[in-house]
């Protein structure tokens, strides 16, 4: 990150901190949602942007974590301190199982992850005595630890913001580490990385599980925000949307998935309130991204800056 990057990050942080001063509850809710889905997109991008694996089952970890936390909190009155970690564990355990999909590559990996995603959706949908079927689980309370409890959407926004910043920092350390470097090596050329002595399969498996953990974290944050979860959260479109967010914002970057999430959710929830053909706007944005900004918004900005620097140098 250059000096401009740090400046931008600080400016964004300042805006994020003061946001509740000038934004109403609807906007606070929407921005919270953007942060949470940005985190989900970031988890997808750990695979897509760093290792080149295209996973379409991340909604599964997201939903299983959300359901676990919701069911424990609502039906068994388990306190947040246990229910939230339990959600993380459940989602990560699922990732440990689904991670075996990294034995395949390319289109086979995509197909297997789609199938796995549908299994989870099917179970949540059909096993209605336990999951509530279509009606899902309602009345999830705000998180509370002992006397400390979150009482409003604004307080929850700050909580989510803190978690997201912590995740972004850890993610940055992770991709800068030798492990992260080896992941990018695998993306560039798996055979070469393997011939250098790396156990590429194991690296990919570890990346998959970490990515599942991150998606589970997004799931737990989501269920406390929405206070309701139903099988739609495990559905195929959610996985696709998370991938789209990463691609539109800029795959392989940290800010990208959050920017993408902001654009997609913003278009859907805000533009739809005054423009009926908002779906068309989304379609145009997708096409424009593919045509003119294949590296997403962040890639586009970098390209423009590089071009300006080159002009200056001349």
């Amino acid at each position: 990150m250059g000096r401009v990057g740090i400046g931008l990050a600080l400016a964004a942080f300042a805006v994020a901190l003061t946001l509740p001063q000038f934004a109403g509850p609807f906007w606070m809710g929407l921005v919270t949602q953007m942060l949470i889905f940005g985190l989900l997109a970031l988890s997808v991008d750990l695979l897509l942007g760093q290792t080149g694996l295209f996973s379409l089952c991340h909604a599964s970890f997201f939903a299983v974590a959300a359901y676990t936390t919701a069911i424990l909190q609502v039906r068994y009155a388990v306190p947040t301190l246990l229910a939230a970690p339990a959600g993380l564990v459940a989602g990560t355990l699922l990732a440990l199982g689904f991670g075996l999909a990294v034995r395949t590559r390319g289109v086979y990996f995509i197909l297997i992850t789609i199938a796995l995603g549908y299994i989870v959706w099917g179970v949540l949908h059909r096993w209605s005595s336990f999951t509530g079927g279509d009606n899902g689980v309602t009345n999830v309370p705000f998180p509370a630890v002992g006397e400390l409890r979150i009482g409003s959407h604004t307080e929850y926004y700050y909580f989510v913001l803190a978690v997201v910043i912590a995740c972004a920092l850890v993610y940055r350390v992770l991709i800068a580490s030798p492990f992260g470097l080896s992941l990018r090596g695998i993306k560039a050329s798996e055979t070469r990385t393997r011939s250098l002595g790396y156990r590429t399969g194991l690296h990919l498996y570890a990346a998959f599980v970490l990515s599942g953990l991150l998606a589970s974290l997004a799931g737990v944050l989501y269920v406390y925000y929405n206070r309701f979860v139903n099988p739609v959260s495990a559905s195929f479109p959610i996985s696709v949307e998370a991938t789209l967010m990463a691609i539109i914002g800029g795959s392989g970057t940290i800010a990208g998935p959050f920017i993408g999430s902001g654009i997609i959710l913003g278009l859907r929830n805000w533009v739809s309130s005054f423009f009926e053909l908002y779906a068309t706007v989304m379609g145009v944005v997708f096409i424009a991204t593919v045509l003119w900004a294949p590296d997403g918004i962040v890639g586009l900005v970098n390209r423009l800056r590089a071009a300006r620097a080159r002009r200056k140098a001349l």
Partner: protein
């Protein structure tokens, strides 16, 4: 819609100018300010057509009522829920926090129901649930600020089971059901009353929403069953219809619609539908009452088509809420009084007389209807559902007491 926005902004500007010019009558303005209603319906996605019907029905009512209730102006804000609970929650929160609506109407899709009810619960803004039909909302999982103005899923299933046994004389029925909550509850409600009388279930075949091919379903119907009951929604209604006739099943077996040939799907079907029993529902566009005639004629004049039950339901929700607001002299800010007025009002709707039971669900007629071609004063020759049998004042608990029914638990496949 855009014009509405412009009008609203102009009105806002006028109000602002008035406030700047005359600071004193500000309080009076707040008292008589407009009543805002948030209508949450899918305008895009798989259920966009019924969503549009709801908007048309709702607007028709308020146009007839000149956009006034309890002496105050009424403003309607529409939001697109896309039939996705996440979107529904966000839009409901927008309605409450951004648009500051006094109460909400909607949503349409069953699984959006609990999501929007959640927002009503956390903010205290009343929700008139229309047309989401999840049984649990008015049975096991009730919210004090939510009342239903449409129908519970199994409320239309119960009479259907009895009708098949008693009037159609069926004894061994194959049930085709749509595989999601509404489909389960309607189908299993009919199975319950049908088997209670002694009927036998040959087979229940579940199909997910959006099933492309009904061939396998039709092939799976056991030869010995003496009738088929269909509960299908969305585009599946037309697919089942086509498959049934393409396979020549009309010559082999009898099929009856428990929830099938609604008015919005009839234009996509053809004359082969005539004579079939199409629905067991709380509304049929061919209903012969003065209220319904006035309603269907006004709707047909405006939209060049007959209303579906979604349009009627939204229209009636408008009527019901206006009746309630009128009875409390427009003091919509008193939420408890408004909800109480909703719960105690007696309504003469196009679909018949309505009142709430003690569990916030309407007690209403259920009509078994046959598809017939009628001469409509506005539209000329048109196919529609004509009632052939009426079950008057059906409760969501059918003949059981609420306690008995609640003890049984929800219908689940």
């Amino acid at each position: 819609m855009t014009r509405d926005r412009i009008r609203r902004s102009l009105r806002g500007l006028a109000a602002l100018l008035a406030a700047v010019g005359l600071a004193a009558p500000g309080a009076a303005y707040a008292q008589g300010g407009p009543i805002k209603i948030g209508l949450l319906v899918p305008l895009t996605g798989p259920l966009a057509t019924p969503g549009r019907d709801m908007v048309d029905g709702f607007n028709l009512f308020w146009e007839q009522a000149r956009h006034t209730a309890g002496g105050r102006k009424v403003e309607i804000v529409v939001a697109d829920t896309t039939c996705n609970p996440d979107q529904a929650i966000t839009q409901a929160r927008r309605m409450v926090h951004q648009e500051k609506v006094h109460f909400m109407v909607g949503p349409l899709c069953g699984h959006e129901g609990p999501a929007v009810a959640q927002v009503s619960k956390e903010t205290g803004v009343p929700l008139l649930m229309d047309t989401a039909g999840a049984d649990t909302v008015t049975k096991w999982d009730r919210t004090p600020t939510v009342v239903r103005t449409a129908v519970s899923a199994s409320q239309i299933g119960h009479p259907w089971g009895e009708y098949m046994y008693k009037e159609l004389g069926l004894r061994n029925v194959t049930f085709i059901g749509q595989d999601y909550t509404w489909g389960h509850e309607v189908t299993l409600g009919a199975v319950k009353t049908f088997t209670a009388l002694g009927g036998k279930v040959a087979k229940i075949i579940w199909n997910p929403i959006g099933t492309k091919d009904y061939g396998p379903t039709i092939a799976a119907i056991p030869a010995e069953s003496d009738g088929v009951s269909a509960v299908v929604v969305g585009v599946d209604r037309v697919r089942l219809f086509e498959a049934w006739f393409n396979f020549g099943m009309d010559k082999k077996k009898k099929i009856y619609g428990g929830y099938w040939m609604h008015q919005d799907a009839l234009p996509q079907m053809d004359e082969r539908a005539i004579g079939l029993i199409g629905n067991s529902l709380h509304y049929a566009a061919g209903l012969d009452t003065p209220e319904n005639k006035a309603f269907t004629e006004a709707f047909a004049t405006k939209h060049k088509r007959l209303p579906s039950w979604f349009a009627e339901s939204a229209y009636t929700t408008g009527l019901w809420s206006k009746t309630a607001v009128d009875s409390i002299q427009g003091k919509i800010e008193d939420r408890a009084a408004f909800l109480n007025a909703m719960r105690t009002a007696q309504i003469k709707a196009p679909r018949g007389p309505l009142r709430m039971d003690g569990y916030d669900n309407p007690v209403q007629n259920v009509y078994i209807s046959k598809i017939q071609k009628i001469k409509h004063p506005v539209l000329g020759e048109v196919m529609t559902n004509v009632p052939i049998k009426t079950y008057p004042a059906v409760s969501q608990f059918w003949t059981w007491t609420p306690e008995e029914f609640l003890k049984q638990g929800p219908y689940k496949r």
